[in-house]
Symmetry: C2
Subunit: 220 residues, 2 copies
DNA sequence: CACAATTGTGCAGTCCCTGCAAAGTTGCAG
DNA sequence: CTGCAACTTTGCAGGGACTGCACAATTGTG
């Protein structure tokens, strides 16, 4: 499904090179830290010239966290493929959940290491879901198409951005909690976040001194 | 209010230098495009050495879109200062609305130009609300404190991230619509987005062909 | 095998960004 | 006002990201 049968030698090699660079980047950065790894190191580990590196990735960060090029279209297709009875928000939830499941199943080690890297370099968080970039645009396009609104309308834009936010939060919590006793799956955390969004961010789900008593407790 | 009386010559000069660099950066980039302006150009326009530039901003982009250092704490304080009867989501809405009003009133021209820049370089969108950076962290901390939850709990993280997403969407729509006939204010767009979030992203607010086919089917 | 198309590579060069140490400024106490 | 301490600015040297360009290598095709 991910690899077409009718694929020439050329495209296969491209995939391999790209994967080699990505894997090398993730491994080295997880091992030595982002700024202790140069593009030269990565290309050397992947057996290509440094110049070739930039034929595949625009920046060093992209090699570590950049999604492969067909992630966007795939997510978009997933959103449209959800049963028509689902609300748009539910469709997005299911689509993302399916995507996470597929991606983690396919390359578990890679993603575990990626999460280590993210934990050490929160700056890269924006790129995990490619904040505002290609994937989110495709997602927005899919939502827009599904609900029959223009892609620059508030609703698709907001649902797409909110989904990205939920995804980011899920990743953060997952990578910060996985060292503790409770090991929640990324999908569960994602579902939790999306459900909370769908619930309108109603006050707190489980605070101690909350709904009424907040009025009694002076804050500032 | 913004400038304390008890402020030495030193701090005043620092403020001035920072503002000069920021203004020069925004002006030049709006005029010539992001990659046709070098740090050297900016520092020259601000009458400081290139080296000094990096004493104030870590990156070129920060000089264009980076919020001044006390934005984070200010937003946090705003969240905590909202009346206790408000829900957390409502408090965030009011806080952001107030922040936008204050900031736009104080330096309108600067912000208009900033929006031009953002429109030309969507890559910078993440930095408008400093996606995942200082301001969002402070916002999350404020929310957490307000509702009495730890700052690494899902709820504060998600509300903060969602607010950032709403802000981004509002800015996008504002800067893409302001050339058309309908000129909505940034605050209105922000309120619209936050309300949509608070409504749980209920299906489409105004879809044409969907309303019936979806209305018959309940969401999960 | 010849030919076109695509991909890999080396090279030169620009620019971003940093550490360090030497100036120049400002604040302050004597 | 004078000397000292704290801080800021600046120049310099340098590493590393990234790009354009020309050329070599490889693959697809007739």
């Amino acid at each position: 499904m991910t690899t077409q049968a009718a694929e020439g030698l050329r495209d296969r090699k491209k995939r391999q090179t790209r994967a080699a660079l990505s894997h090398a980047a993730v491994r080295l950065v997880a091992e030595h830290g982002l700024d202790h790894v140069t593009v030269e190191d990565i290309s050397a580990a992947a057996d290509v010239s440094p110049r070739t590196f930039f034929n595949y990735f625009a920046t060093k960060e992209d090699a570590v966290l950049g999604p492969d090029p067909d992630t966007g279209p795939r997510v978009r297709a997933r959103v449209l493929a959800q049963p028509a009875e689902l609300s748009a928000a539910a469709a997005v939830r299911e689509a993302l959940s399916a995507e996470v499941a597929a991606v983690v199943a396919e390359d578990r080690e890679l993603w575990l290491r990626r999460m280590c890297v993210v934990q050490q370099h929160p700056v890269l968080l924006a790129k995990v879901f490619s904040g505002g970039e290609a994937v989110e645009r495709e997602l927005v396009a899919g939502i827009a198409e599904r609900v029959g609104l223009p892609a620059d309308d508030t609703y698709p834009l907001l649902l797409g951005a909110a989904a990205g936010a939920a995804f980011r939060v899920a990743v953060v919590r997952w990578s910060s909690v996985r060292w503790s006793s409770t090991a929640a799956s990324l999908q569960d955390l994602l579902a939790e976040a999306v459900d909370m969004l769908a619930g309108g961010l109603a006050d707190p789900p489980s605070a101690q001194s909350q709904s009424q008593s907040r009025a009694t407790s002076p804050q500032s």
